[in-house]
């Protein structure tokens, strides 16, 4: 076989250099800053683990909120995506158009989506107007001004945007569930729910892994939607690790502290992804 010569290097070296320069080196340097009190302007001085202890004392409520949002989002977007995929897998004549329609929100910038929803959920916005119009005026409330409804709103907006994307994942997964298997189960006596639980779901396991891990990572890193919808409010009630890092670093100028929290964030994401993959892969035959 001919030796490849120098051509592969022409492709590899620029990409490797870019990756090192833009991804690896800054990440490592940023991690190092986590142990300093750098303010982005003057020289940093070493503070050891002080940033971490400060976060555990003051910032732990942010972790809880991030976990709640992550939980809502992961469950919501995967259930919605799976539901859409099941509904649009066969039969409907308009399914191709509908699939494209459900995917449209996912290709819009999250920030734009969030701003639109901020308008809709505003105190005098369309949602409250519609509720008043249909006589449910008592349900109209400041959705973004109360912690519980604000958290739910953020989760719902995210699910709304990305359900179509997860629908794609599950549509692909459903291709692997042959119709004959479901028919065999039907003849064997399994009703629709039974067929779903015993046949479809187990065969969808690879897609479930992908969907869950991807959505978990997105949820942990959540920033755009929270920033635009609630700004982290009310009173920090919807702050996530992502927004917390932003505020501490870029608004308050505490680059060292922000790096420390960011480091914790990355660690958390990796841990969550690993645990999920372990749990969901199950027994390998």
């Amino acid at each position: 076989m001919k030796r490849p010569g120098a051509v592969p290097w022409l492709f590899v070296v620029p990409a490797a250099a870019l990756t090192l320069l833009i991804l690896l080196v800054p990440s490592l340097v940023g991690a190092a800053y986590a142990f300093t009190d750098w303010d982005g302007l003057t020289s940093p001085s070493w503070v050891g683990l002080a940033n971490f202890t400060e976060f555990f004392d003051d910032g732990s409520h942010v972790v809880g909120q991030t976990l709640i949002l992550a939980g809502l989002y992961v469950v919501g977007v995967n259930a919605a995506g799976l539901g859409l995929a099941l509904g649009l897998a066969h039969t409907l004549r308009t399914r191709h158009v509908l699939r494209a329609l459900f995917l449209v929100p996912a290709v819009v910038s999250p920030l734009v989506v969030a701003y639109i929803w901020t308008f809709i959920l505003d105190v005098d916005g369309p949602l409250n107007e519609i509720l008043e119009a249909v006589g449910l005026g008592s349900s109209a409330q400041p959705w973004l001004g109360q912690r519980n409804t604000a958290l739910a709103a953020v989760a719902i907006v995210m699910v709304w945007q990305f359900a179509g994307y997860h629908m794609l994942i599950y549509l692909a997964g459903l291709q692997g569930v042959q119709r004959e298997l479901l028919e065999a189960a039907e003849v064997d006596g399994a009703g629709p729910w039974r067929r779903f639980a015993d046949i479809t779901l187990p065969l969808l396991r690879p897609a479930l892994v992908i969907g869950t891990v991807l959505s978990t990572i997105s949820a942990f890193l959540l920033f755009d939607q929270v920033m635009a919808l609630t700004g982290g409010g009310p009173s920090g009630g919807t702050d996530t690790l992502g927004t917390y890092v932003y505020e501490q670093t870029f608004v308050n100028g505490r680059y060292g502290y922000g790096s420390a929290v960011a480091l914790l964030l990355v660690g958390g994401v990796c841990l969550a992804a690993l645990v999920q993959m372990r749990l969901l892969r199950g027994r390998r035959s």
Partner: protein
């Protein structure tokens, strides 16, 4: 060397080259070029643009380049430039403390050139001196000024005392309207403005030097009767229905709409934000009036001060050209202020107006010195304003008491910028 070693070697060389190329940014400007970095106020031709042209005419050997950043990102962009060693010659920024990137925050870190020798430095009134320097040194030329008051459509009955204001709130509530449009949404950054308006007539009516004392850690918020009273009055306003029911979740855009549609009668706001309110109701005429923080007219003070300023970053290379431009701008400030439609922070000796036309009701207060500082200009830790906003919103939803709010502010107080 095996394949892997060779690959790493090549990549490392490429990285080094790229890094060297990227790092080779010198300070902007130099060699006859002056870079002025400002925020975009939405106008094609702002006073800085005009000043740049005039300066070039006066100094043919120098060129002036005006860089405009989007308003929201300007302070951060400035910090980045300063941190990366790519500072402009002149920059516009916010005076006092507040966010990271404001005049005093930068000055504390030694990043600004001392402008104390400038011809205009001696003319700084006391109310402004503390915002552009630490009292003894001057780091910024104050450009614009602002005051906090009530904005309403012309012809609205604006209450004159604190008690009559509470009555007006209740009356408005009975008519199905809201007296004060308040955006409690985190991004609106409005609640603390009301807090400042209230505190001006309590804290600073008692002790005009409170701000300096706080900087010296001689007093606390929780221990201040004036602050306690101010925040408690916020609660009284809430109980009188001044802010309506759903203030906590209202965005700034929604408050502008409410004011424009007439669902709300007034709002408490800085003078410089009038265009925002006007935009929601282009056909209406808006005016501003003082906020009646107390029943005793002698205790009513208007929070006022400089808002923006020009600074000259302390650079490795010469800070001279930057200073030249600032001095030039200062000399012609009156004319530039007309172009901007703003009121210069450094008052003309000729006694020109101190407040924009629509805020004529505030003029007597400003002229007679019945003012209080804009409080967050003396708050080094940006976290403080977030706590104040949060605390007031929690009070809106009935989940906090004044003591809680003030204690949370004390908890994050620092006398230096982080």
């Amino acid at each position: 060397m095996n394949i892997r070693g060779r690959a790493l070697g090549c990549a490392a060389v490429a990285v080094a080259l790229l890094a060297a190329a990227a790092g080779c940014g010198a300070d902007a400007g130099g060699d006859g070029e002056i870079v002025v970095s400002v925020w975009d106020d939405g106008r094609e031709e702002s006073s800085i643009d005009v000043a740049a042209r005039d300066f070039e005419k006066a100094h043919p050997d120098l060129t002036v380049t005006v860089q405009k950043n989007p308003f929201d990102q300007h302070l951060q962009a400035l910090r980045r430039q300063l941190g990366a060693g790519r500072a402009p010659d002149v920059a516009m920024t916010v005076v006092g403390y507040g966010e990271s990137g404001t005049v005093r925050a930068l000055a504390d870190k030694g990043l600004l050139a001392d402008l104390g020798e400038s011809p205009w430095a001696g003319r700084l009134p006391d109310t402004v001196a503390g915002a552009v320097g630490d009292g003894s040194e001057v780091y910024a030329f104050p450009v614009d000024s602002m005051a906090i008051g009530i904005v309403a459509k012309k012809g609205t009955d604006v209450p004159g005392t604190y008690t009559s204001m509470l009555t007006a709130c209740r009356d408005a509530g009975r008519d199905g309207k809201t007296a004060f449009a308040l955006g409690g949404h985190e991004n609106s950054k409005m609640p603390h403005i009301v807090g400042f308006a209230l505190a001006a007539s309590t804290v600073y009516a008692d002790d005009p030097g409170y701000g300096d004392k706080r900087l010296r850690d001689e007093v606390t918020f929780a221990g201040s009767d004036g602050w306690e009273q101010a925040v408690a009055r916020f609660g009284e306003m809430r109980d009188a229905g001044c802010f309506g029911e759903n203030a906590a979740g209202t965005t700034r855009e929604a408050t502008a709409r409410a004011l424009g549609d007439g669902d709300a009668l007034m709002a408490v706001t800085p003078t410089v934000t009038l265009p925002l309110w006007q935009a929601a109701a282009p056909d209406a005429e808006f005016v501003m009036a003082p906020f009646p923080g107390d029943d005793d007219p002698d205790r009513v003070l208007v929070p006022a001060g400089a808002s923006s300023g020009l600074v000259v970053p302390a650079k490795a290379s010469d800070a001279g050209p930057g200073k030249q431009f600032v001095d030039f701008y200062a000399k012609h400030r009156a004319r530039y202020a007309e172009i901007d439609g703003a009121v210069p922070a450094l008052p003309d000796d000729g006694g020109g107006p101190r407040a924009p036309g629509y805020a004529a009701a505030l003029e007597p207060y400003l002229r007679d010195g019945r003012t209080a500082p804009i409080m967050d200009q003396q708050w080094p830790n940006p976290e403080l304003i977030a706590r104040f906003d949060s605390g007031l919103v929690e009070m809106l939803t009935g989940r906090a008491e004044p003591a809680d709010v003030l204690e949370s502010m004390d908890a994050v107080w620092t006398s230096e910028a982080p």
